[in-house]
């Protein structure tokens, strides 16, 4: 009798998601699906609100990456107030960039130290009681301390640039509302050990070395786990440099052939469409040029390093050259190399933070620019987990009458589903008993994408982990709850 296995919600993945794995009578995987209960009412909720509220309002969407939504909304509104997309002041752009690189630094650090390192240090099939950050803290204390302090440093950059931890107000339509103070700048540059940028750069390099060393010893796992050909899409600077804040859209296929040639993101709807499928609340974006079947693409760290020509900071550029050499200059389609790419970006973010802290424009300058108002604008930004689109249109009363958001995790919907299917088949086919290690392998594939499932609500008692095993008659034959897994 066939079986249906449900993992709900996915551990160490934010929000509500579940994986269903259908097994036939021979215990072979016949179908897998990553279901995501994504909130889709937000666009409607924002309609009717004054446009200038959007950069603060959109932070309600997500307590994980509020900075990305804050900045994407502000960029879309730059266009509406006549200051964008290329004409905000140098001070405004640099302060926003500092906020954004701070977010990248903390988010990527959290992912590596807190989420990825337990799998890497103890093994995917290790006892789940050991495979967590507490055990990392016990066995590799220095590493755990670094993770905590890197995350804290990034959070403090965000607080200093956004104004506060919750619902920051730093970016406003047409610019920003504050500069950095000299005290803040000096604290980040030469602050009390270890909370200063040079220490952060050193630790970012150390994390990269840790990964590369692990890779050397575990090539088969890192190179072949959830490896599949994919197109890749991201923002790049107009000269082809890696740029997570501003630029044009570029997409390449699995062999590196350009699919989108550095197009203006104001016209994204000419190039990207979204498909709805009956079994998921989350849409499936695709490139119009390639159609629904072939047009899906990956976003995030791996995609960014596959699409850009170079990284505009020296240490990260050196690492990119090593990364590129590994695949002979071809796009890297190895899901676990997402961790490698993420760490190169962590180093780049730290270098950029240092560069921006040394830039006099962040201390003073023109805060806001405005010009001829338009009724529609698109803001595009690279969130830590991938490309994020915000699109607004306003009416004559300055109210938002249309909003369209494509979040990073939505862009990665098909790749994550593909990864789940590959890993489930590789690990579960033919096995009568589904082990914890097999389930974690599936989750490891999902975690590589660092998905954020748009749910910042976390009230006590609201998010149990439940794994339910069904037979073909939909009868529950086994249930695992969160306390059993930890």
């Amino acid at each position: 009798m066939g079986q249906k296995l449900t993992i709900e919600p996915v551990t160490r993945v934010e929000g509500h998601g579940k994986v269903t794995i259908h097994l036939d009578d021979e215990h072979n995987v016949v179908q897998t699906r990553l279901h995501i209960v994504e909130f889709r009412g937000f666009e409607r909720f924002i309609q009717g609100r004054p446009y200038w509220e959007a950069p603060v309002l959109v932070q309600r969407l997500c307590g994980i990456c509020p900075v990305s939504h804050h900045l994407a909304a502000a960029k879309a509104l730059d266009v509406i107030v006549g200051a964008g997309p290329d004409n905000i002041s140098p001070t405004a752009e640099k302060m926003r960039r500092l906020m954004h690189y701070g977010q990248f630094f903390q988010s990527h650090s959290l992912h590596f130290f807190h989420l990825a390192s337990p799998d890497l240090l103890f093994g995917i099939d290790a006892d789940p009681a050991r495979r967590n950050v507490i055990q990392v803290a016990k066995d590799f204390k220095e590493l755990a301390v670094q993770g905590v302090m890197m995350r804290k440093f990034g959070q403090e950059i965000i607080e200093a640039t956004a104004g506060k931890k919750i619902h920051g107000t730093g970016a406003i339509p047409g610019g920003i509302n504050k500069c950095l103070t000299i005290e803040e700048k000096m604290r980040f540059l030469i602050g009390k050990d270890p909370l200063n940028i040079d220490q952060m750069i050193t630790w970012a390099q150390g994390a990269l070395e840790l990964f590369k060393d692990y890779h050397k010893k575990n090539k088969d796992l890192i190179d072949n786990f959830a490896r599949f050909p994919s197109s890749h899409l991201s923002l790049v600077r107009k000269d082809g440099a890696l740029d997570i804040y501003h630029g044009v859209i570029r997409a390449v296929d699995a062999d590196g052939k350009r699919i989108l040639h550095d197009v203006d993101y104001q016209d994204y709807l000419d190039y990207i469409a979204e498909e709805v499928k009956s079994w998921s609340y989350m849409k499936f974006p695709y490139l119009r040029a390639l159609g629904r079947q072939e047009g899906w693409y990956t976003v995030g760290p791996l995609a960014r390093l596959n699409t850009c020509d170079f990284i505009p900071t020296p240490l990260a550029q050196k690492e990119l050259e090593i990364f590129r050499a590994y695949t002979g200059g071809k796009p890297n389609n190895m899901s676990m190399h997402m961790h490698w790419a993420r760490l190169i970006e962590t180093l780049h973010a730290a270098e950029m933070i240092k560069q921006l802290l040394n830039d006099p424009d962040i201390l003073e300058g023109e805060l806001v620019r405005k010009g001829s108002k338009t009724i529609e604008g698109v803001g595009l930004i690279e969130a830590p987990r991938g490309t994020l689109f915000h699109h607004y249109r306003i009416n004559k009363d300055d109210q938002i009458e249309m909003a369209n958001l494509i979040v990073s995790t939505t862009n990665n919907n098909t790749p994550m589903n593909t990864a789940v299917e590959l890993v489930a088949k590789a690990n579960m086919n033919g096995h009568e008993k589904i082990t914890e290690g097999m389930l974690n392998a599936v989750e490891t594939a999902i975690r590589a994408y660092d998905p954020c499932l748009s749910c910042a609500t976390h009230a006590l008692g609201k998010m149990p982990l439940e794994i339910t095993l069904y037979n073909a008659a939909e009868e529950v034959i086994d249930v695992l709850r969160s306390e059993l897994r930890g």
Partner: protein, 177 residues
């Protein structure tokens, strides 16, 4: 915000830490209560109590709390409780975190593992009812928050016996682990 610069040496350093997303109605109970209590602390001239808030707890909070003697976390709850309850937080390495947040007991355990410190830690659970994408608490949640606020102010006004005064409540409600 830290108000402890001029505190008397023997006073315990206390941190009130509310977490949740104020953009999701009652999920904001913790941060909203912290905002309210912060004003009261200033008016009262209490100098050994600091406040903090964030969307969620995370690993860096292990570093934050290691500098205090007593921690009072505040969070919205959908548990079957009346207005609010308080529980003692015990360190736990139970992996009950999602991808991007951790529990108070996990923070405390991490603090102990890394910094070898275990401050006396409590969690104030305040009953919430609605968690959709809107700013502002429901009337019921606000009422519960006010009751929790009165309880908290009572504790802070009698700091010499703060731990003794919390204990009976925790004895009833048990632990958060």
């Amino acid at each position: 915000m830290y108000y402890g610069q001029n505190c008397v040496d023997e006073s315990p350093k206390i941190l009130l830490y509310g977490y949740g997303n104020p953009g999701r109605k009652d999920d904001g109970l913790g941060p909203v209560l912290v905002d309210e209590i912060e004003q009261w602390i200033i008016r009262q001239g209490i100098r050994n109590v600091s406040v903090d808030s964030n969307y969620q707890l995370n690993i860096e909070d292990a570093y934050t709390i290691q500098d205090y003697d007593i921690i009072l976390f505040m969070d919205a709850s959908i548990e079957d409780i009346d207005e609010y309850i308080i529980t003692r937080v015990i360190p736990s390495d139970k992996v009950n975190y999602t991808m991007h947040s951790v529990s108070p007991s996990f923070v405390l355990h991490l603090c102990n593992t890394i910094y070898r410190k275990v401050p006396s830690t409590f969690l104030l659970h305040i009953k919430g009812y609605a968690f959709d994408l809107q700013e502002g608490l429901t009337d019921g949640a606000r009422k519960n928050m006010e009751a929790a606020s009165d309880f908290l102010k009572g504790l802070l006004q009698d700091q010499d016996r703060l731990l003794d005064n919390i204990e009976p409540f925790c004895s009833i409600n048990g632990f958060t682990g």
